[in-house]
């Protein structure tokens, strides 16, 4: 059985957020939701200022606090290491959001149609529908609504039902079809790597071994499946700049 992991090479990351956008397009997440968030940090006063970037997907922890606190088993970890959410079991209690030290969980406050990026144009307008054929852009990725894995659950986002939690799925719908997660596939400078760390000779295993990889909040004991190479963990002196801002 494969064990999936992601490595973020901070020696290469440009902070461009192409991964963020690729995630949104692939997973049709609503406004203000960034399953793959990229921090931009400043540290130090002029002229001793330093900048750094930090992509932050779900860490898919081996010792996942979100799984432990979920009262319904909606949040669970698969044998291949991917931590997922079953929207059909989620009751929206948001315990996972509180338990997670990485801030990767997002609650669906709105119906999917209302949370999308169509608040200026009326897609219900007959003239618009004559062109769109009744589609609501961005179109609904049908893979998100399918059942995946041996569990047979709708774990790829479940089309973002109102009242449930969601987060990065490592693009389970792509991985199960032999593709890379959208963020990894899109990164223009190969700052993101993904692969099987149960195979000690896989490229991602070798990359982790040959570089001084570290994890976020190692002291929390969560044992993330996301590793970082280069840079250093953010400290309290870091100031986040250029935050995305939900438009609604």
């Amino acid at each position: 059985m494969a064990k999936y992991a992601m490595v973020v090479d901070l020696n290469r990351c440009q902070g461009c957020r192409a991964c963020t956008e690729a995630c949104k397009i692939e997973n049709n997440t609503g406004q203000g939701m960034f399953w793959m968030h990229v921090f931009r940090f400043e540290d130090g006063a002029f002229p001793e200022t330093r900048m750094s970037f930090l992509p932050r997907p779900c860490q898919h922890c081996d010792n996942a606090p979100c799984v432990k606190v979920c009262p319904t088993g909606a949040r669970f970890k698969r044998e291949d290491g991917i931590v997922l959410t079953d929207p059909d079991r989620c009751i929206g209690c948001r315990y996972c959001e509180l338990a997670c030290p990485y801030g990767v969980n997002y609650f669906n406050w709105q119906k999917p149609k209302d949370s999308q990026y169509s608040d200026v144009i009326s897609w219900d307008d007959p003239d618009i529908q004559a062109i769109t054929g009744g589609a609501y852009p961005p179109y609904k990725n049908p893979d998100l609504d399918k059942e995946w894995g041996p569990e047979g659950r709708r774990t790829a986002g479940g089309n973002h039902a109102k009242g449930v939690m969601e987060k990065c799925t490592f693009c389970v719908q792509r991985v199960e079809q032999g593709s890379l997660p959208a963020c990894v596939d899109t990164c223009p400078v190969t700052a993101l790597r993904f692969g099987d760390i149960s195979d000690s000779e896989s490229p991602v295993s070798r990359f982790i071994r040959e570089n001084e990889a570290w994890s976020l909040l190692e002291e929390a004991g969560t044992k993330p499946s996301v590793f970082y190479v280069g840079g250093k963990p953010p400290s309290h002196s870091y100031k986040e700049v250029e935050r995305p801002k939900a438009r609604v």
Partner: protein, 735 residues
Amino acid sequence: MNEVRERDPDLVLWQKGRSKAKSFYDTAFVKAIGSSKLGHGAFCSDAGYRALEYTIGTHAVLHPDFRFCNYMLSWGWNITNAGGNKFCWLTWPQHMVKARDRGMKITHIDPRLRSAGPFADNWLAIRPGTDMALALALCHELIAQDFIDRPYLRTYTNAPFLVREDGTVVKVTVGEGDEATDVALVWDEASGAAVPFGEATTPALEGSYEIEGQAVRPGYEVFKSHVAESTPEWAADITGLPAEQIRRVATEFGENALIGSTLVVDGVEVPHRPVGIMAYHMAQQELGFQTARAMTMVPMLVGAVGAAGGQLSDFTWKLHKNYAAFETIDVADPPYDFMLNKSKYYPINTGNPGVVAQVMLDPDRYGVERLPEVAILHMVNPLTAFPSQPEYMESYKKFNFVAVISPWLSETADYFADVVLPSATIEKYEGPISATNQYVEATTMRIPPMEPLFESKGEIDIYMDLCEAMGTLFGEGGYLEQVNKALGLVDDKASFAIPTDSKPTVRQIFDNWSLSQGIDEGIAFFEDPNQSVFVKGPMSPKKMYGYAYDPPFAGALHRFYGESLLDAQRQMKEKGAEEIYWQDYTALPTWRPPTMEGSPSDYEFYLISYHMIEHKQSRSSFVPLLAELAPAARMDINPMSASRLGIEDGDVVTVESHNAITGETRSLVTTAAFCDGLRPDTVGVPHHFGGWTHPQNKGQGASPNEIYFMGEGYVSNTADQAFHVKVKISKGGEL
């Protein structure tokens, strides 16, 4: 349009902003209808283009040979947010991270650290508009520390040319009759005499000599004297950088240049100078042309131009036509055309829509008798994309007819268009598009994924329809013949030419072109998603490196010393040009404080504008997904400066600019964003916002282009726009 064309086709003005791919269909249209033509270069990097065309003959600015470069000056290169020389964003960062994996060091020269992200090993937070002073100080230090590649300077530059005290070069006539040419004299160290360049075995670079009673010195010696006082301490006062930092960078650059070394690349031995500069849009400053010349002299001194690992510029060393044209710069008498070509104002002229706007508002002042009457504005939006809005607002009213070709209802279209011809975005054939990464030659093509939306059409369809309606589509000189010429479907490839007596489909045009390139499948090759990129193969070192080119540097003699610039200055003076126009036409880059320094002292900040990676010029801020990541305009300010003014992060602020020539002030209101990675005397505003026609633009705020100025002091030298102005900041204002 035809009515105006019949009277004078020059009075039809075609103006283009940006689009992708080879501009053959633009060229064909302009030639077919005979119109005047304006581009976007005066707001992009054309001051640098003109400087490099003048100095080394390439049509580009500066980038290093990343494959072998060990030490790079990222000079105003917005590494993590924008493209670099010649390429858009993707390719350069890919090369850069590979070079970093090898250990390449980056010295970042920019008022903003934000632009470099974590990739600056060393940050020189330079004061805006003072780059020339830094370049001259680096030259001073390279000379002082003897990091000089004398063989390069002697052989491939005009640095040995003997210069009189009045700045003219000593020349003799060689040959007779039609073969007679003027050749510069150099001092032959072997014979101890002045001989024509090319006849000396060892031309002197230094020393003072006498020819027929006149004192003369080699151009290099003149330059040495010119920068003798340009010490790091001198530059420190101007640039705001510590002198020791400047000296250290010069030393690192010189040491890493490995002067005298060679490298074998793909079997070809070439000089190895693994140092270079990446510079592009920073050329758009008041002293931009001469600044880019001074910056180019830094790698020239160490022999890095055209060397492996060193300073590259274009992807070929084929000479741009301006290299020869700039050998003599003729300044004409009025009347001038409305772009002021060959005028006493801008003898080297990039072609600036803002200059046209100014001329339209006051033609008598500039000695212009004929103004454009009709405008065709293609994918260009001067009202928000270019400085400065008030002049465009007034001048474009004077057009009798305006047609806009654009995918969106731009602000310019909203105000002025009599007709909007909606163009497709990606749903069209477009190409050929270079897919080179600098080291591999490749071509691709945009293939339409669907039919054009709504009433839109691809531009080529629009131009064919226009020409058909104007009677200029078919036959000799018509659009289709011009398309054949612009695509190279002539001479030995004439068999691939499209017929000029019937209207083709755009697909047919590209099918013929593809076949002419030896692609047997024609356009079907590009339509096949499994192929789609035509790879010609690795770029030969004989094409990439100037030293290995045949002949080296395409036969150019690099203009270290710019005699024709000085000659242009003389002519400008003779024709009565004011000093502000001729002052920078000097043989060697000469520092002076920018005009903006004449603003009152309460305008204490420098305003710079910058590009954010989320947006593309002024035409993406209405895209909701992108506007979520970068939602609105802002004014970056160092917290130390903000604190002094009582401004908190997120406060509403008023930014007021001042024109140091006219005294005019302009202002915008935005919010303050704290930024430690920015000089305390500088504020920055992104240039992507300020639109108002699209509902998604609502509330996004202003563009800095609203408070920049055009005209003297702000459009200069080569008719290029400067994106610098002094401003004062106050808390409050109405958003």
